[in-house]
């Protein structure tokens, strides 16, 4: 399902990700977005290496991508609030990110409540079936004051 067909303005969402200074600094890009889900990418760069011996990206880079992707999934949900912030994020590192490869993240907001949104996400390089990391998070839902 493409973002455009689902009523979520992909170009607007892309502009939103690009407007976040830290996401821009890491080179993040929005690949696709739909109601309650998002797909982001991050190109490999030497300055993001965590282990100089292997050239593997730092875990913190994976965290940043999963966190941003989770937030985008929350904001794209049909019942989203005005803004969101991470309450907590747990990341399981399943294998090192292959050097020289673009990193991807897909996040899904699988439960939206009045004040809390629940998200699950994966990060991978070549295939989502071989994840680099899996994440679970809770996000705030800021509603307009009644």
């Amino acid at each position: 399902m493409s973002g455009a067909a689902s009523g979520v303005d992909k170009e607007r969402a892309r502009g939103f990700v690009a407007s976040i200074p830290h996401s821009r600094d890491l080179g993040m890009d929005l690949v696709d977005i739909g109601p309650g889900w998002a797909h982001l990418s991050l190109p490999y760069h030497e300055r993001l290496i965590g282990d100089p011996e292997t050239g593997v990206l730092h875990g913190g880079v994976v965290t940043a991508l999963l966190d941003t992707c989770g937030g985008a999934a929350v904001l794209s949900h049909p019942e989203a609030g005005l803004s969101t912030a991470t309450i907590d994020l747990r990341i399981d590192y399943m294998r090192p990110a292959a050097p020289e490869r673009e990193l991807h993240a897909r996040a899904e907001c699988y439960r939206m409540t009045r004040y809390v949104a629940f998200v699950r996400a994966v990060a991978y390089t070549d295939s989502p079936d071989e994840p680099v990391a899996a994440a679970h998070g809770a996000f705030t839902v800021a509603r307009a004051v009644e």
Binding site: S19, I20, P21, H22, S23, D25, L26, E46, R47, L48, I49, G50, D51, P52, E53, L57, H58, G59, G60, V61, T63, A64, L65, L66, D67, T68, G71, S83, A85, T86, I87, D88, L89, R90, I91, D92, Y93, P96
Partner: protein, 172 residues
């Protein structure tokens, strides 16, 4: 009679060696440098400092630091604390272990198994600090807790717990 082991000069030299080893260890990781994390040492205690930069902003409207930058800062602090404890022990052991460190050959960094970040309040656009406490470390597994604050040490803005895989010499 002078006791050589407590000569002020040799203590001074040991402190310099420790600072050199710490600077080399942190300076060798590109992302630690890119994010702008530096380490200060008091005896064996490390404090990490994330220097504020506009690049770290995640919400320009507030403004607030990016949750990803905060998570990365905490994870870096946890890994460096674990790695530093290993380096410290080797330097204390002296002999070959010390010579290896002096030659710039550090033990392999621990690998993150899982990491859970608790965002307590938004990070303001200013310098941040963090300290890690190793609650358990064995031959293979370690559990580490990290706390981060800005101006007030008692008012944490984020904390995290992580598990790490320790790598022994000869591990791939």
């Amino acid at each position: 009679m002078t006791r050589r082991s407590v000569e002020p000069e040799s203590i001074q030299r040991m402190e310099e060696r420790r600072d050199e080893a710490l600077a080399r260890m942190a300076g060798g990781v590109p992302y630690v440098q890119h994010l702008g994390v530096a380490f200060e040492r008091r005896g064996d205690e490390l404090t990490a400092r994330l220097a504020y930069d506009e690049r770290l902003i995640g919400n320009p409207a507030l403004p607030a630091l990016h949750g990803g930058a905060i998570g990365a800062f905490l994870e870096i602090t946890a890994i460096m604390e674990l790695a530093w404890q290993g380096v410290w022990e080797r330097m204390e052991a002296g002999g070959m272990a010390l010579a290896e460190i002096e030659a710039g050959r550090f033990p392999a960094f621990p690998r993150t198994i899982d990491f859970t970040v608790d965002y307590l309040r938004s990070g303001l656009p200013r310098d941040s600090y963090a300290r890690a406490r190793v609650n358990r470390v064995g031959r293979r597994y370690a559990s580490v807790h990290v706390e981060a604050w800005q101006e007030n040490r008692a008012r944490l803005f984020a904390q995290a717990t992580g598990h790490f895989l320790m790598r022994q010499d000869g591990d791939v």
